[in-house]
Symmetry: C2
Subunit: 360 residues, 2 copies
Amino acid sequence: MASSSESNTRPIRLADIAKAAGVSHGTASNVFSRPEIVREEVRERVKAAAEAMGYAGPDPKGRLLRAGKVNAIGVATTEPLSYFFDDPFARAMMAGISEACDATGAGIALVSAGNQEKLAWNIQSALVDGFILFCIEGGSRLVELTRERKLPFVALELGFDDDTVSAIGVDNVAGARLAAQHLAELGHRRFAVLALPFADGSTGLVSPEKVRTALYTGTRDRLVGYFEAFSRCGVDTAGIPVYETENDEASTRAGLETIFASAEPPTAILAMSDRIAMVAIEWLAARGMAVPGDVSVVGFDGVPDAALCDPPLTTVAQPIAEIGRRAARTILDFDGTVRRETLGVELVVRASSGPPPKTA
Amino acid sequence: MASSSESNTRPIRLADIAKAAGVSHGTASNVFSRPEIVREEVRERVKAAAEAMGYAGPDPKGRLLRAGKVNAIGVATTEPLSYFFDDPFARAMMAGISEACDATGAGIALVSAGNQEKLAWNIQSALVDGFILFCIEGGSRLVELTRERKLPFVALELGFDDDTVSAIGVDNVAGARLAAQHLAELGHRRFAVLALPFADGSTGLVSPEKVRTALYTGTRDRLVGYFEAFSRCGVDTAGIPVYETENDEASTRAGLETIFASAEPPTAILAMSDRIAMVAIEWLAARGMAVPGDVSVVGFDGVPDAALCDPPLTTVAQPIAEIGRRAARTILDFDGTVRRETLGVELVVRASSGPPPKTA
DNA sequence: ACCAAAATTTGAATCGATCCAACAAAGCTG
DNA sequence: CAGCTTTGTTGGATCGATTCAAATTTTGGT
C-alpha cells in the first residue's frame, strides 16, 4: 500500500516551499520572519504552498544557528531534576527566576543529570544563553564545568570565594548575628548550632580547626556571625557544640541525638537552614520537648514553608525571589562584567523562639 | 590600552582550531566527538591548540542542526512559568516527568509566556524534541499551537475529546463515583458540588443544559460520576447545587456563600479538585463549621498537600507522578502513533469525611 | 513616454558543526 | 615487492534557516 514516498518522507524545508511557490528562499524566509516587506500576492502564494505541503514553519534549529541567541536561560544543579520542584528554597528561587523570564519572554531550561558524566555532557550541550548555578554541593565542580562553556553564568549560594565568577548571595555574617543576638536577648545562655556542611561528605561535631579550613565560606560566615553575637552579648562560647549536618533529615537527627545527650542540653538551637530547623522542631516534639517552652529554634533562609510549620519558625529570611530575579537579569542583561551582589537579610520572629525555661 | 583585536573578537570556531593545529576541520571535529579514532599525537596537538585559543568546545548550536535531536522535552502551559513551582498538582506531575528525564539524561525546557502572542512564539521557537502540554485552560488553543510544530506531543488533563492527539488522563467518571458513593454510604443525603470550569470564563450555579454542552469533558465526566453514584445509592438528585468555580480561591468562596445561603445547606461537599476542597475547609472553619462534624468535604486529585492540611483531606487520588512519567516516556519513545491512556484512580479516605451530623 | 525614487526580489554568503566517500600511508602476507 | 588490510586524514556536502548588497520591478511625477 504505502509507496516509498508516502510517510517515509523527510520534513519539509523552507527551500521546498520556495521552490513550490516559485520564489527565492530569501523571499520565502521573509514571508515568515518579516511578512510586511513582501508583496501581498506573493505572501499569500507562499503561505498557500506552505499550507499545502504541511510545512511546520521555519525550524528553530536552523534559525538558531544564524541568530545565535537561544532566548532561554539554563538553571543547573548537581541534584536530580526533581530538586527544582521539591525543595522549598529552590522553588522560591525558581519563582523569582520565572518572573524575570516571563517578563522578557525567555524560556527556562532545567539542566541536571543522574551522574557526573552526564551532568558534564548536559552542561556542554545545553541550548541556553547562560546559566544560573545552584551550588548546593559539588559547587566548584559545577562552576568549572560551566566556565568551559564560556557563556555568562551566575552562581547562587556560592559556598566559596572566587572573585572571577559572578555570584549573588546574602550577608551571612549579619544574618547569623541577628539570629544569635535575638536568642541571647531573650535570655538564652546555652546554645547549640546545627550547621550546614563545611566540606563535602563529612558530618559530626566540628573543631575550631575545621572551621578555619572550611571549604564552604557560607557555612563559615554564618558560624562567624553566631559567635560574634555571642561575644557581643557576653555569652560563654566555650562549650557550644557545633554539629555539621548534610542539610537532610538523617544527619540532623543524628546531630540532635548528640547534642541532647549532653548533661547540660541547650535551651536554644541555631539551625543554619530552615530545613534543619524544621526537622529539629519535629524531633523535639517527638521527644516531648516544647518549642519554644523548653527549647527555642531559629532557622535560616526564610522559605515559605517556615511560616506554615507548627510552631511557625523564627528565621533569618533571605530575599529568595529577589535573588532569583537578579540572577536571571544578570544573564539576560549580560554585559561581560563580573557582577557580585550581596543582599541583606531580615530576622523574622515567629513562634519558635521565646525565653528560656525558668528552671534552667 | 585595548587593541581592536583584544576582547572584541568573535568566538573561536572549530575551523579556527583546525587551521591552527594544521589539520582538516573533519579531524578537528573527530578530536572532540570521537577522539578514539584520531592518532594520539594529532589529538594532543589539536587539544593544545584549542586550549591555547580558549576554544569553548563544539558549539551545541552547530551540532544541533546536524544532529537533529535536542535531547530535551518541552513542558508548556498557558499559565505563567511560576505555575510549575507553585501549584501542587503541577509540581507532583513535574516530579514524575523529571524522573523519566533524569533516567535518560534528557533536559526539560519550560515554555510559557505572559501573553498569548508570546506564548505562540515561544512554542514555535522552543528547542525541544516534543511537548508535554498542561491543558488547564485554553487547552485547545495550546493544542492547536503545538500541533503546528509537527513535533510529538502529549496532552495532560485534556479537557476535551480529540482522538487525533495523544493524551494521558484518568478515569474521571469512576473517580467521581467513588467519591460520591463514599459520602452516600456514610449517610449523607444533602450534597453540593463545587465544580471545575465547564467552559472558559464563566462561574456560578450551572443548569443541566450547560452541563450537556460543557466544553471540558473532564469536568462533565466528574459530574456524571457523582450523579451516577447518587442514583445508584438512592440519593434524590433534584436539589443538588452544582457551582462552577475557576479553581481558585475567590470563585470557590463565592460558591460556598451561595451554597450555604440555602435553607437546607448540604452536609457534604464534593469538590472537583483538592485546591477547591482545601479552600472550602478553610472557609468552613472560619464560619465555625466543623469538618467533618458539620460538613464533610471530599476532594479530587490527591496532591501531596492534601495529606497535610487540617483535617487531612479525603480525596480521589490520581497517580500524578505516574502520569508525568508516562507523558515523558511518550515523547522520549515516540513511535509516530497516537497514544491515549486512561489511568485508574483511588479513593483515599482521610479525616475530612465522616457521617452527617445527627441533628440533620 | 521617460526617469528617478521607492518597493520587491534575488541569490550568494554565513552561522558552526557532523558525516562520509575517497584517498594516503603504514603494516602484513606470501 | 605486488597486493591487501588496517588505520588515519581530508575536504566537500549537508543540516535549515537569515541576511544583505545588488538586481529588478513598480510607482509617481512631469
